[in-house]
Symmetry: C2
Subunit: 345 residues, 2 copies
DNA sequence: CTGAAAGCGCTTACAG
DNA sequence: CTGAAAGCGCTTACAG
C-alpha cells in the first residue's frame, strides 16, 4: 500500500533511527543544548552528514511560535536611498539571526496593502515599512495592529507606531540657510511626491530662507515622482511658468540628476548658470559633475536603528511607541557656488 | 490547570466553532474551493472578520510541502544593476504568488554559503543566486544539489545549472569595435573583480579591437571592485603606470563614475581628453555629463527570465539544465566621441 | 456538501 | 542524560 511517491524527505526521525537515539535527543543536538553526551552528539552528527539531513526551520518555528523572519517593505530599491537602507536593515537583522522577506510597494497604496497581507500570512515576527505616499492610518491599523512594526522615512498621521527618520525640517533649514547665505534670492523646490518628508523639507527650506527675506513662490514649488524622470518633468514645468531661478533645491539627489540633465538640455549649465542643492547625499553625489551640494539623510543609520527598534519590540510588544529622529548634515559642494564664481569672473 | 498564558492566537478551529462547521470546511472556504454551499461560505467569512483570524500560510505550506517562497541572493543591491534585477525578479515572482526571501553576499564566498544555508533551512521552493566572485562548484553542490535553483549574471565553472545572463563576449566586442571604429588606438580596461563576466568582456573587447590592430596591454587591464571606489583606484593605478590612453573601457557604469571623477581630479576631462565607454547602461548613465557610452545588459530581462526558469524548474525538477543568453546592445553617447571633437576643433 | 482522523517536521514538558 | 506523548495550524484523503 505504502508505495513511496515523492523521494521522501529525510527528517529528524530518520536521523534518530540512524544514530540509535530518540528524536528529542536529535533535537537537542541540533540546537546545541549542552545536556547531551559527547558520544551521542557525535553519532548524531555523523548520521546527519551521512543522510544529508537539512534542518527544517519552518517546522521548528511553527512549534515555537516564532519565525525568525522579518518583513521589509519599501517602495523601490532602485532608489539609492532605499538600497542603502535595505542593506543596513539586512546587515543588522542577519547579525541577530533573522531572515528578511522583502517586497516593494512601488509607492502604490493597494499594492502595499496586498504585500503586507502576504508578508503577515507568512507569519513574520515583525515588519519594517516605508509607507507609500498615500498610506493612511486605517490601512496600517487593519493589517499591522497585531504585528510588531516600525515605520521608516515617512510617518503616517494618526498612526502611533515606532518611527525612525531624519529631521526633514532641519534638513530643509540647513539647505535654505546655505542658499540664503550664498546670496540666492529666487529659489525653486523641485520634484518628489506629496508626503510628510516633502512637506517638512519645504517648510525647513522656507524657514531657512526667511532670515534673508527670500520666499518660495507656490508656482516654484513643483511636485513629481521621486525619480530622475520626475526631476526632468519638474524642471520642464518650471521653465514653462517663467524665468529661471538663481537656485534650485531638489527633493532628492535622484531628482537632482534629472534636473541637471534637463537644465543642460535647455542650454543651462548647473553649478554655473544656476545653483543646485538637494537632499540625501547619495554615495555617488559627491562624484558627479559638478559635485552636488546635498543634505545627508543617513539611510544606513536609519536602517540600522529601525532593525534595532523592531527587535526590541518583538521581545517586548507592550513598549510605548518611540520616535527616533536623526540629525541631518549639509555638504556644500561645487553645484551651489555659482555666485562666487560669477563674482570672481 | 489550563491557564491561558499568551493571548492564544485564533485558528481555523476557532473560526469553525464560531461558524458551526468543521475545520475542513473552513479550510475549503479559505482556499476558495467551489464545493461549499454559499450560505456556509458567508457564515465562515463573517466569523473570520469577527474573530480577526489571519491565515497561517506557513502551517498550510508545511502540510502541502511547498513554501511559496523563493530565495534571492545577490551580492549588493546598492549596485543599480542588481537593484534593477531584484525589482524584476520580485515583480515576476509576486505575479505568480511567490514571496521572496532576500540576502546579500557582499561578494564574500563564506557569507554567501552561510546565507544560502539559512535560506534553505527556511525551506524555500527555489533559489536565484548571483554567485560571488570566488564561488566554486563545490559550494553549490553542497548546498543546492537538492534545491531548484538558477544562476544569474555569473556562471560557475563545472556547475551544471540553469543560467541566465548576457553574452559578455559579444558585449565586449560591441564596445571594442566601436572604439576601434572611432579611431582610438590605445585602450585600457578598468575595474571589476575577476569573474567570468569580466573575463568575457575583456576577451570581447580585444576581439573587437583586433580588427583595427589594437591591443590591450596587460598593464592597461586593471582589476578592482565593481564600485565607484574601484573605478577611482583603477584610474589612479593606471596613471601611475604610464601615459594616459586615448580611450578607457570600464567594467561597468558604476565603475565609470569613479573613473570619471578621478580623471577630473587629475585635470583630465572625460569625453574630451579621453574617451570613456562602459557596460550595463544603467538608467542614469544617459543623463550623466558627458552622457556615457555603454553596452546595455538588460537586468530587467535577466531577472524576469530567471524567475520564469526557476518556476518552471520547481514544477519540473528533472528538466535538463538550460542556459539563456541575452544579446547586449551598444548605446553610443558623448563620452566616446572625443576624436571627432578634436578633429573638428 | 460536510466531518473525523491522520500527518507535515519539529519542540516541549514530563518521566525515568 | 534519554524517551514517549502531545501539540504548533493547517490540508488531505476518506466516509457519509
Amino acid at each position: 500500500m505504502a508505495v513511496d511517491r515523492a523521494p521522501k524527505r529525510v527528517t529528524i526521525l530518520d536521523v534518530a533511527a540512524a544514530s540509535g537515539v530518540s528524536r528529542a535527543t536529535v533535537s537537542l543536538v541540533l540546537r546545541d543544548e549542552p545536556r547531551v553526551a559527547e558520544g551521542t552528539r557525535q553519532r548524531v552528527h555523523e548520521a546527519i552528514e551521512r543522510l544529508g539531513y537539512v534542518y527544517d526551520r519552518r517546522a521548528a518555528n511553527m512549534r515555537t511560535q516564532r519565525s525568525m523572519t522579518v518583513g521589509l517593505v519599501v517602495t523601490d530599491v532602485r532608489n539609492p536611498f532605499f538600497a542603502e537602507l535595505t542593506m543596513a536593515v539586512e546587515k543588522a537583522l542577519e547579525a541577530r539571526g533573522y531572515s528578511m522577506l522583502q517586497a516593494y510597494s512601488l509607492d502604490e497604496r493597494e499594492r502595499e496593502a496586498r504585500l503586507l497581507g502576504v508578508v503577515i500570512e507568512q507569519r513574520v515576527d515583525g515588519v519594517i515599512l516605508l509607507p507609500s505616499t498615500d498610506t493612511e492610518a486605517m490601512d496600517l491599523q487593519r493589517r499591522l495592529s497585531a504585528v510588531p512594526h516600525v515605520l521608516i522615512a515617512r510617518s503616517v498621521a494618526d498612526h502611533d507606531a515606532d518611527y525612525v527618520g531624519v529631521d526633514n525640517v532641519r534638513a530643509g533649514r540647513l539647505l535654505g540657510k546655505h542658499l540664503g547665505d550664498e546670496g540666492y534670492r529666487d529659489v525653486a523646490f523641485l520634484g518628489g511626491p506629496r508626503s510628510t518628508a516633502r512637506g517638512d523639507r519645504l517648510r525647513g527650506l522656507r524657514s531657512g530662507l526667511a532670515r534673508h527675506g527670500v520666499k518660495i513662490d507656490a508656482k516654484r514649488n513643483i511636485q513629481t515622482g521621486a525619480s530622475r524622470v520626475g526631476g526632468i518633468q519638474a524642471l520642464e514645468a518650471l521653465l514653462e511658468t517663467g524665468a529661471l531661478p538663481d537656485a534650485i533645491a531638489c527633493y532628492s539627489d535622484i531628482v537632482a540628476i534629472g534636473v541637471a540633465s534637463a537644465l543642460r538640455a535647455a542650454g543651462i549649465e548647473p553649478g554655473r548658470d544656476v545653483a543646485v542643492g538637494s537632499f540625501d547625499d547619495n554615495p555617488g553625489s559627491s562624484l558627479q559633475h559638478p559635485a552636488l551640494t546635498s543634505v545627508a539623510t543617513y539611510p544606513e543609520r536609519v536602517g540600522a536603528e529601525a532593525a534595532r527598534l523592531l527587535i526590541e519590540r518583538i521581545d517586548a510588544p507592550d513598549l510605548e511607541a518611540r520616535r527616533v529622529i536623526l540629525a541631518p548634515t549639509l555638504s556644500v559642494r561645487a553645484s551651489s557656488t555659482t555666485l562666487e564664481r560669477r563674482q570672481a569672473a
